[in-house]
Symmetry: C2
Subunit: 240 residues, 2 copies
DNA sequence: TGGTGGGGCATGTCAGACAAGCTACGACGG
DNA sequence: CCGTCGTAGCTTGTCTGACATGCCCCACCA
């Protein structure tokens, strides 16, 4: 048995393995997964660990489990769309859809944080931030324009703006910072002046304003990403 | 101990109780919850049940639990915004923000389903649907325009269009159908011709296209709701 | 023919135990 | 005096085996 993605816990890696199976279409919509007892035997773990993994699937809307019956794959999450719940590098997401991502930086600078940025990033007057403007492309097509902010204190004293390439997450992880969650506001924006270079004919964007946190709840980045409507599809499963 | 909301399972009702506590602000951001062992004693259940409840909280981004340390309240979900993960009646959501909701119907009719609607609702040629157009208001201010579709077979033979009032969920539940999940596509729309009556000056909308399912995975409604940008705020917590 | 009850299997919950990670604090050595 | 190390005692993660309870199906009986 080979797990596709590393995870901290046993149940976590089993959950990602099962999620990958579903994503690969190994279980059709409506299929019943093996019982918890069988899965425990298959993976060589206890039923408790399997239950933890299955609860992860259900919380993501990938399965529905009914007492006395079993757990069933909903399988309604289409493969060509990004799950809004899943916080992943945009580059990774594009690549997982079989397209080639690129981040084209328009500006990279270290500057003092502006007043309205202080509160959300928990900064103090005069603190410096790394401010970047990027266009994100898939196979050369511009998919989004992003304005990102990282407090300089996360980047260390010997930071140089020349090392900024590719994904926002990559920059952070190069300095030992791992963004694990983000509070996201979602807006619709129509602005002909937004963007640069090859602009879309319809200047309508889906804006995700995201405040990223590390595992200790410390804010590590503030990102405003404008997705060109029609070029990137977001979806998610909502629950009662 | 009184649980605020009924739930199928013991762990489920404990989870909603804990969620309510957090929503009421009984735990501040960063607070550590009692240990699983203590919670088990408090609620008079086993540790396994508590763990199931805590996994629900973590999957919603309300808490973070660290091995060997404890589980901590993130408490970053602001109260004035709707959680996109949570599938609730829009009317309920508006009311929970202290405003008065109203659904103003523009049209209600039974008609044959159109070709492009058949597949997603799993209908066959000639099947009838209830098609409605509504404006949703909060304290009289139009918050969204919605086009909704319900297959007639869910409404029974003695259905009359006169009974359609208020929430979409209410109409369904009046006929014993309970929508428990929805696959949602999110788009930005700019269309001066969209909407009716008191239209917003900026015709930019956040469109949620939702296919609702009952607990058995049967599609029960297709809703296209255009939220007037700036009048309703959606947010969610994303996770790695 | 039709309803009814039970058997088997599924998930939900319980109890107790051990493994393993984290924090705090005190002993120890520099 | 200060820093380092180890350990005690907490936490969550996993395991085992058991019982409670819900669901489905089918044999059985009226």
């Amino acid at each position: 048995m080979a797990f596709t993605a590393p995870s901290e816990t046993l149940s976590g890696s089993i959950a990602t393995d099962l999620r990958a199976q579903i994503a690969r279409g190994e279980w059709a919509s409506g299929d019943r997964l093996p019982s918890e007892h069988q899965l425990a035997e298959i993976y060589g773990v206890s039923r408790a660990t399997i239950r933890t993994a299955l609860q992860d699937l259900e919380s993501r809307g990938l399965t529905v489990t009914r007492r006395g019956v079993g757990t069933f794959v909903t399988g309604r999450v289409s493969g060509v769309r990004a799950d809004l719940r899943e916080l992943a590098s945009l580059s990774e997401t594009i690549r997982s859809h079989g397209r080639t991502p690129e981040a084209v930086y328009r500006s990279i600078l270290l500057r003092q944080a502006e007043t309205h940025e202080l509160a959300s990033l928990q900064l103090e007057e005069g603190d410096e931030v790394l401010a970047t403007e990027r266009a994100l492309t898939a196979d050369g097509e511009t998919v989004a324009f992003s304005h990102d902010l990282i407090p300089a204190r996360h980047l260390g004293p010997d930071f140089s703006t020349t090392e900024v390439t590719g994904s926002l997450f990559a920059v952070l992880e190069a300095h030992g910072v791992r963004a694990v969650s983000a509070v996201t506001d979602i807006h619709a924006v129509h602005d002909p002046d937004l963007g640069w270079g090859e602009r879309p004919t319809d200047p309508t964007y889906l804006l995700l304003s995201q405040l990223h946190f590390d595992q200790d709840g410390v804010p590590v980045a503030l990102a405003h990403t404008h997705f060109v409507e029609g070029r990137f599809h977001w979806s998610l499963v909502r629950h009662r």
